[in-house]
């Protein structure tokens, strides 16, 4: 039977198994909205700003592993979505974004609400398409899902002119597609894996460093198995948290600019570095000249372009992390050679010394609320089992440092792009994917205001997100840099004219709570968690001058941390 392009779009989504579409209507996508209206399989979540749609789809994808789906109109609908697309791109999140476009006959005419969506998103998508003929629509959407979710994942945009959604074609959704110019890798090279295992077993001071690739590649269990088998210390990047249980004794905490003393020191002094699904980002390496000066490096990654991009490695392995880890484990069990026990004991002793500095300690006696204390209590009250999203700034680092993630896909943050405004809409996507779960958004009074309008969406869909606002009346991370590097000239780091967040939450139909005493923190969190079906906005008035420590200043090596 022939269907209109709009019906084809919706049928494709259904046949792809898509449960939710996050979007916002407009002229160019009205046919598609009409097709959505006439069915019940694919549910549409109406956000309040297209940036919110992309972050919500992103949160959905990060917490489930399935691609998030976005639908927005042409022109401003699409441009509003760009920040969220770029956010997903930087963190390799699978996402399919459908944008409306002006009718094909008008393309290039500066038509009303025309913008070159394919052009404007080209640098921040894995791939994009403009569909000019309704006959190509279904196959293009299939390709979009395939590209978004396979290999190193990423957002894929499909731009659909309005006339294409009105025209008719025979509907056929392909079971699978193959693209001759796109062949994501699977298994790693056996020779390289053998070399890597030899090097790993020769280590005297080994260190395992893993990133978001382990989470995205569903390889957390295999990573845990290998790490325990070896008995080696391990650190996770900001994106990799939850890839290895944070409460395990082999875990040294996060590394990098605000990483723990022990993780960064162990990186600096190791002799064999085993990097898995991580990309040697500048926030992780510090000064590249001073990075891991004595280490030979094994690097496992699905993206060949990530290998030897920033740091030259000795044993590169291109492959899907789960497959490579499984091969490595098999080989580690099969070979006679075992890790060097004595060397390892000495290395752990050294690490214990670094650990004893207790770099994350903070003043627990203060009579103002310490932000770290709030995160610690959040961890305790939620039994470490919440999904935690965050925005960007100091609060993000404290959430990463003090909430101990034992499972993957629980820590949801914008690591690569560092997008303020991500936290609340991402939490919506997570909550929609996991209706019964506790979802907390750890944010700051700056960030939360960037997508605050989504409080309305949360009411409409009854999303009981718990917003933990660490309100320091400053763009804290900016203030911290100004304190350290600009002699305390606090240019525009903002503390004026803040709204009353309790009233604001109430105005949106939610519960608001103001907490300004350390003694009330735990009680408030418990009370909020008990309100199972309500969104609660917890406004914690925290210490204004608290800084994130440890910190590696720009240009320094990982061993050159500022501790307090």
């Amino acid at each position: 039977m022939e269907l209109t392009g709009a019906d084809i779009v919706v049928r494709c989504l259904k046949d792809e198994g898509v449960e939710y579409v996050f979007g916002y209507p407009g002229g160019a996508v009205l046919h598609i909205y009409d097709a959505l209206y006439r069915q019940e399989d694919v549910k549409h979540i109406l956000v309040r700003h297209e940036q919110g749609a992309t972050h919500a789809a992103d949160g959905y994808a990060r917490s489930t592993g399935r691609p998030g789906v976005v639908l927005v109109t042409s022109g401003p609908g699409a441009t509003n979505a760009v920040t969220g697309i770029a956010t997903a791109y930087m963190d390799s999140i699978p996402m399919v974004v459908l944008t409306g476009q002006v009718p094909t006959a008008l393309i290039g005419n500066d038509a009303f609400q025309e913008v070159d969506n394919v052009g404007i998103t080209r640098p921040c998508v894995k791939h994009n398409f403009l569909v000019k003929d309704v006959k190509d629509l279904a196959e293009t959407i299939k390709k979009a899902f395939y590209i978004a979710a396979s290999g190193r994942p990423g957002p894929v945009l499909v731009d659909i002119p309005k006339d294409v959604t009105a025209n008719k074609a025979e509907y056929h959704y392909p079971e699978s597609v193959s693209i001759r110019s796109y062949n994501p890798v699977g298994k790693g090279h056996p020779g390289q894996i053998k070399k890597a295992v030899d090097l790993i077993l020769s280590a005297k001071r080994p260190m395992i460093y893993t990133g978001g690739g382990v989470v995205l590649g569903n390889a957390a269990e295999l990573l845990t198995e290998m790490t325990r088998l070896l008995g080696y210390p391990i650190t996770n990047t900001l994106m990799g948290l939850g890839g290895y249980p944070a409460t395990d004794k082999q875990f040294l905490g996060m590394l990098g600019m605000h990483g723990t003393y022990e993780a960064n020191m162990a990186m600096h002094h190791c002799d064999v570095l085993i990097a898995i699904g991580a990309r040697f980002d500048d926030r992780v390496t510090g000064n590249i000249e001073k990075f891991c000066p004595t280490a030979e490096i094994v690097h496992v990654d699905i993206d060949p372009a990530s290998i030897s991009k920033n740091v030259k490695v000795d044993v590169p392995i291109v492959g899907a992390v789960d497959s490579v880890l499984a091969d490595m484990i098999r080989l580690l069990r099969a070979v006679e050679r075992k890790p060097d026990k004595d060397a390892l004991a000495a290395w752990w002793q050294q690490i214990a010394e670094w650990r004893s500095i207790d770099c994350l300690k903070f003043d627990g006696t203060s009579d103002v609320i310490k932000p770290q204390f709030v995160v610690q209590k959040l961890y305790e009250v939620t039994g470490g089992d919440a999904y935690v999203t965050s925005d960007v700034g100091q609060h993000q680092m404290w959430a990463a440092q003090y909430y101990k993630f034992d499972k993957p896909r629980r820590w949801i943050n914008s690591g690569g792009l560092g997008t303020m405004g991500f936290g609340l809409p991402a939490a919506m996507g997570v909550q929609i994917a996991h209706p019964g779960a506790t979802v907390a958004c750890v944010t700051g009074e700056g960030s939360i205001q960037m997508c605050i309008q989504e409080l309305s969406t949360c009411l409409q869909y009854k999303l009981p997100v718990k917003i933990v606002n660490l309100n320091n009346r400053y763009l804290g991370m900016v203030r911290q840099w100004q304190e350290f590097f600009y002699q305390g000239r606090y240019a525009m780091s903002y503390m004026d004219s803040l709204p009353d967040f309790v009233k604001l939450a109430e105005a949106y139909g939610h519960v608001g709570m103001l907490i300004d005493k350390p003694g009330d923190v735990e009680g408030a969190l418990k009370e909020a968690m008990a309100l199972k079906d309500r969104l609660v906005f917890l406004d914690f008035i925290t210490d204004q001058n608290e800084n994130v420590y440890p910190m590696i200043p720009a240009g320094a090596g990982l061993n050159e941390m500022i501790l307090v």
């Binding site: 080209r122 894995k126 791939h127 693209i179 110019s181 060949p304």
Partner: protein, 163 residues
């Protein structure tokens, strides 16, 4: 070092801008770029001349390979290869210079393909160096206009870039 990268690309709208955009976004250098459909109309062949350290060239080829529209590529400079560039030059051929221009064109194995009382259009094919040498020989004074195709290249011998 200078590298000639030959790319088989899906012959699709936007493929060229993906390659060009990659180079500008990542700050890679493009010395010349040519592109046209091949004997298989679904494919374009691009020849791209760039320069950079080994590390940068490695990144360039990896990043190009990552583009979904790139089917295959080869760095021609890694093996024996032939490169050619075509140039059309319009020169002021009035008066005394006229004979000398004809002579130089013959020496460089070029051809005069358009003639008026006061001008020639000369066609010349060769390596970039040869074209440079010709321009130097005739002197920029008489050149009214020069247009170069950019480099095309192909491997010598049995090696070939195909599907």
């Amino acid at each position: 070092m200078r590298h000639i990268i030959s790319i088989l690309l899906e012959n699709e709208a936007g493929a060229l801008s993906r390659v060009a955009g990659l180079f500008s976004a990542r700050g890679y250098n493009i010395q010349s770029l040519t592109v046209a459909p091949t004997e298989d109309p679904s494919l374009s062949r691009m020849t791209l001349v760039t320069a950079g350290s080994d590390d940068i060239i490695e990144q360039i080829t990896k990043q190009l390979n990552k583009l979904v529209d790139v089917v295959k590529l080869v760095d021609l400079t890694e093996g024996p290869h032939i490169e050619r560039e075509m140039m059309l030059v319009k020169v002021n051929a009035a008066g005394e210079a006229r004979n000398e221009l004809k002579r130089l064109t013959d020496i460089f194995r070029g051809r005069i393909i358009d003639v008026t009382a006061t001008t020639y259009v000369i066609e010349l094919t060769g390596t970039g160096d040869k074209l440079d040498a010709f321009i130097e020989a005739v002197g920029t004074g008489v050149i009214m206009e020069a247009v170069r195709s950019g480099v095309s290249g192909i491997a010598r011998g049995e090696k070939s870039l195909h599907l």
